[in-house]
Amino acid sequence: MLPLTDPEVRALREDFPLLTGTPAVYLDSGATSQKPLAVLDAERDFYVHRNAAVHRGAHALAVEATDAYEEARRIVAGFVGGTERELVWTSNATEAINLLAYSFSNASAGRGDQEAERFRLGPGDEIVTTELEHHANLIPWQELAARTGATLRWIPVDDDGALDLGAAAEVIGERTRVVAFSHVSNVTGAITDVETLVGLARAAGALSVLDACQSVPHLPVDLPALGVDFAVFSGHKMLGPTGIGALWGRAELLDAMPPFLTGGSMITKVTMESARYLPAPTRFEAGTQRVAQAVALAEAVRYLQAIGMERVAAHEHELGQRLAAGLAELEGIRLIGPAPGAERMGLAAVDVAGVHAHDVGQVLDAAGVAVRVGHHCAQPLHRALGLTATTRASAYLYNTTEDVDRFLAELAGVRTYFRVAG
């Protein structure tokens, strides 16, 4: 598949109103993406023509709103190879992981029926995550462990921030009940060997949870084909609005899990003493939903599909390699993650010798290049790398090779500015 050419990207960029203003170069899509007009229009169109509460009203407007909401679910579920039975809307990926952790915790407290048995955790049980996780895929599991008495273990990284798969085979064992890991690291840009980890989880009889925040926006992803049990991703990182994300899960698992948030629209019969719950996905969607955001996210998916995720991936592959190769040539720059030539997504984090990441980011920002500085919500990984903060450039389909070159050129001047290099 051919990567997008710079003229193609420049044409695409016309769809993104923010990118025609400042900053000149936006390389912070790993944090959040910009939105095409089609997505903004879809959200507005919903409010102007179909706004009503869903799954509640009998009037025509409510029916249209419900249709729009459920069609959005079908589209987004289909985008990751799933069906509408398997997709639960959440506020973001973080909430989706918390949903799992709290549902397991509720099962452990005896909530849910017999089916919920399989999600019950207690002392002696182990939850496995990795040392490179985003805090969103670490702290909910720490808290779940603390609530249930289970033990949290992790797959370590080596000095370059790569997962130690040899150690994984030792960490994941018969006590393991859950294995939670990222598809793509938001710091190193490396793609995880999902097959190996799912194989280990399956052999141990453990559930697997994939943090797909940095893969679903950038690669063709077929979750059922990957063999994971659950996956999460966020709309705002894939051209969609803020305030929406999703949990994907195998239907039989979702149906067996006790609810997380409770309230209206997820129940059947309610008395003062107790309530009975609808099947998934409705079971997990309490209260009035983020309908306009769901509709807009579906439009974002259509936009991505029109370009084709293979082409998006090829484009980002090209940008990732250009970043890595360019960085390797700069003096005093330590590239985190895969070496130039090795597979990486369209992002790169670096340490600049003698200059703190905050200062690096400031100089780049003044030059119109927006990047992210800090620990990128991955403090343990940074600690393992011997760093507190790095500077990360992360690209998306609207970035040209010129954007990358501009970043590299500005970065090259930073050490001189701070007088740590001639």
Partner: protein, 154 residues
């Protein structure tokens, strides 16, 4: 005819008022029977349907003797149950399963399918309901219960 009047057909309003099969009937001794309770969470409507089968020789397709029900709900759900209670007796299990399937297809058609009156009889009057997606569940309530009750009648 407005879409509203097309939904609230004479037949439906009639059935909603003088309901056939209302009140659960005790099955005759030796007769097979099954029961199912269904609930519509949107409005709180509920129905219990009981299907009674006449004794049949081993392996033969049993014949429905009686379909009775008890419930509370809107005119659409009550009429649909009443129509079914009139249609079912005398049908074989296979025929009733087919009828329920045809009814479901009609209701899910969003008004795009013309009802086959020969197969559906009075139930064809529910064609107008299919344009009102939110009411499909109402019409199906008793029929889904019948389907499950039939299954349980073993």
């Amino acid at each position: 005819m407005s879409a509203l009047d097309a939904m609230y057909q004479e037949v439906i309003l009639d059935h909603a008022k003088r309901r056939s099969g209302e009140g659960l009937a005790a099955p005759a001794p030796g007769h097979g029977s099954g029961e199912s309770h269904q609930y519509n969470p949107t409005c709180g409507d509920e129905i219990t349907v009981r299907v009674e089968l006449a004794p049949a020789p081993e392996g033969a397709d049993p014949v429905v003797e009686r379909l009775s029900w008890e419930g509370e709900g809107c005119s659409i759900s009550m009429a649909a149950a009443s129509v079914l209670a009139e249609a079912a007796p005398g049908m074989t299990r296979t025929e009733l399963v087919e009828l329920i399937g045809a009814f479901r297809d009609l209701l899910r058609s969003r008004g795009t399918v013309a009802p086959d009156e020969e197969v559906l009889g009075d139930a064809a009057a529910f064609a107008g309901v299919s344009r009102f997606v939110a009411r499909v569940k109402c019409a199906m309530l008793g029929w889904v219960a019948a389907e499950e009750a039939l299954d349980r009648a073993g």
